[in-house]
Amino acid sequence: MIYEVTIAEKTYRVELVRTGEQWTCKLDGREFPLDVVSLQAGDLSLLLDGKSYEVKQENAGPEAAVVVGQERFAVAVRDPRSFRSRRRAGGDERGPRKITAPMPGKVVRLLAEVGAHVEAGQSVIVIEAMKMQNELKAPKTGVVKKINVAKGAAVEAGQSLAEVE
């Protein structure tokens, strides 16, 4: 099996060959000595040059991540034969200039109108969730092009609330 794994803009080519319970691995062409066992679903113990690494799979939000020891790596895995994964790989690219709701909540205040000039970091929309009010800021300096929600509206995570251009 061949996978393209993207971590922090760098893409690795991982070639896995399985024979019975055994795996051999090539990383970008390099032979990668693989001494790995599964401790439980989503949890690997990996030995490399005697160093012991516990690797855990974390699935938070649209992008996948793995934790090696204590270091968390956002990863996009692309199986060249798979279609779905292409979209996930896209999830790691730079986002648009939208203001999106990072979690579900309620719009309690609009601090700018369509057409208004806003500085990068200036608060545009205030949403409340879990009893905390959070000010959503302009991702860039520019003009508010669109506001898709009204005060009092309930919004979903990831919903596009406004656009700055």
């Binding site: 099996m1 996978y3 794994v5 971590i7 922090a8 760098k10 690795y12 991982v14 896995l16 399985r18 019975g20 319970e21 055994q22 795996w23 691995c25 990383l27 990668f32 000595p33 693989l34 001494d35 790995v36 066992v37 599964s38 401790l39 989503g42 949890d43 690997l44 990996l46 490399l48 040059d49 005697g50 160093k51 690494y53 690797v55 855990k56 799979q57 974390e58 699935n59 938070a60 939000g61 793995v66 934790v67 090696v68 204590q70 270091e71 790596f73 990863v75 895995v77 199986d79 990072p102 979690m103 579900p104 309690v108 205030v126 969730a129 879990m130 009893k131 905390m132 009010q133 959070n134």
Partner: protein, 507 residues
């Protein structure tokens, strides 16, 4: 002692109180909203009763319903935990009216201390040192006037506030109006009380608080201090005991003031006096929290006492089983508040299903948790998942132990603030005890530094991600059922033994 206690709360504190009940042979009755039927506190309690819909106002804040359930199930007392109704004097009165003991101070003391403005007046009269500012609620106009008098920056606060809600720092006159209104509407929402007052803002103060215990026979003791300066948006993130800057003399002076404040308020049961401490180690009364604090475990670890069990004893009329001179502090304790929030995304709450939960243990590690693997953290409430607390011989050892415990902690499926704690504990200022309420904001303003050996780790991450993909159970096609060997004996293949011995040679 009570035979049955109703716990008018949820989450980790409800579980904490259930545990105390279990250990004291008291039957525990939980309450739950429709969002919490599967919550940990429901399955851990001896009894559990529904109190309404998910919205707190209709369930956990529903005084009539809660009192009704308490009466029907025969609870002799109610423990309010923290938050929700814990500082609501009307609720305490309703309990008394129903012949149920409210485990906390008398309503009069709650009202006095619950109103920051009245509290300021009373504490001022009691000779407690205060920060300059208004002693009563202000209109916007009055606020602008007072701000001009004491000089910017100023702090705007909700009189009924707590936990940072309805609280805003204002650095310049231009910001005053919008901050005042935000704080007011937030306070209105959170406490149904929009009263706002204003204080001079002390630059980079420490937040240090004193735990007090008062029985109903006039005995009051203090249990040392807690350093709570590591805050984000006035929300405590890390607490510790003792404080790195409080010596025995300062502890006694703060303790004496705290005991005096407690007496003058006619206060009983567990309470906390919060102080601001400036760079010259002057301390100013901030507020009194008339309930058990989230961070009470650090005090329990250094004193060896169980504050919840002592709350029960006090409420049932017992005298304090010790005097001030019997109380000693041993070692150092640190608490981290684990929240379901995304540190990479402005700490927005990250509710959802906990797909994996690996919890730290071993020497000196305590976890007070309200969640379990498989639980879906609801949107409706505060996103705190659990509290991780460590105890060790001294502050350095406690920091090292907390790092170790955090390394063992893993939450899958939702984002948490765990990575933040690693940054804090590695920061030289925190390690040196040079912390104030501005510390965390300054830390967050600087980008996280990359780790050493990141390249090898990234290689491993890449390979592991591919392995996870290749062995994913839901995976179809020719990879179906591909598995990573779990039988260790099967692992000892020749080429791997070779790889290992190479590894050894490379050392």
């Amino acid at each position: 002692m009570f035979k049955k206690v109703l716990i008018a709360n949820r989450g980790e504190i409800a579980v904490r109180v259930v545990r105390a009940c279990r250990e004291m042979g008291i039957a525990s009755a939980a309450i739950y909203s429709d969002a919490d039927r599967a919550a940990l506190h429901v399955s851990k309690a001896d009894e559990a009763y529904p109190v309404g819909p998910a919205a707190a106002r209709e369930s956990y804040l529903n005084v009539a319903k809660i009192i009704d359930v308490a009466k029907r199930c025969g609870a002799e007392a109610i423990h309010p935990g923290y938050g929700f109704l814990s500082e609501n004097a009307q609720f305490a009165r309703a309990c008394a009216g129903a012949g149920i003991k409210f485990i906390g101070p008398p309503p009069s003391a709650m009202e006095l201390m619950g109103s920051k403005t009245r509290a300021r007046t009373a504490m001022h009269a009691a000779g407690v040192p205060m920060v300059p500012g208004s002693a009563r609620g202000l209109s916007l106009a009055e606020a602008e006037e007072m701000a001009a008098k004491v000089g910017f920056p100023v702090m705007i606060k909700a009189a009924a506030g707590g936990g940072g809600k309805g609280m805003r720092l204002v650095k310049a006159p231009a910001e005053l109006k919008s901050s005042f209104e935000t704080a007011q509407s937030e306070a209105q929402r959170a406490f149904n009380d929009g009263e706002i007052y204003l204080e001079k803002f002390i630059e980079d103060p420490r937040h240090i608080e004193i735990q007090v215990l008062a029985d109903e026979h006039g005995n009051v003791v203090y249990l040392g201090e807690r350093e709570c300066s590591v805050q984000r948006r006035h929300q405590k993130v890390i607490e510790e005991a003792p404080s790195a800057v409080v010596d025995q003399d300062m502890r006694q002076r703060m303790g004496a003031v705290a005991v005096q404040a407690t007496r003058s308020a006619g206060y009983t049961n567990a309470g906390t006096i919060e102080f601001l401490v400036d760079a010259q180690r002057n301390f100013y009364f901030l507020e009194m929290n008339t309930r058990l604090q989230v961070e009470h475990p650090v005090t329990e670890l250094v004193t060896g006492l169980d504050l919840v069990q002592l709350q029960f004893r006090i409420a049932s009329g017992e005298k304090l089983p010790f005097r001030q001179e019997d109380i000693g502090l041993r070692g150092h304790a640190i608490e981290c508040r684990i929240y379901a929030e995304d540190p990479e995304n402005n700490f927005f709450p990250s509710p959802g299903k906990i797909t994996r939960l690996l919890r730290p243990s071993g020497p000196g590690v305590r976890e007070d948790s309200g969640v379990y693997q498989g639980w879906t953290v609801p949107l409706d409430y505060d996103p705190m998942l659990s509290k991780l607390i460590v105890h060790a011989a001294d502050r350095g050892a406690a920091i090292a132990r907390m790092r170790r415990a955090l390394d063992e902690y893993f939450v899958g499926g939702i984002k948490t603030n765990l990575p933040l704690f690693r940054r804090i504990l590695d920061h030289p200022d925190f390690v040196a005890g040079r912390i104030d309420t501005g510390f965390l904001d300054r830390l967050l303003a600087t980008p996280a530094t990359a780790v050493s050996g990141a390249n090898t780790l990234a290689d491993i991450a890449a390979v592991s991600a591919a392995l996870f993909a290749a062995t994913a159970p839901h995976k179809n096609g020719q990879n179906a059922g591909a598995r990573i060997g779990v039988d260790s004996r099967a692992q000892a293949s020749t080429w791997k033994r070779m790889a290992r011995s190479e590894g050894v040679r490379k050392e």
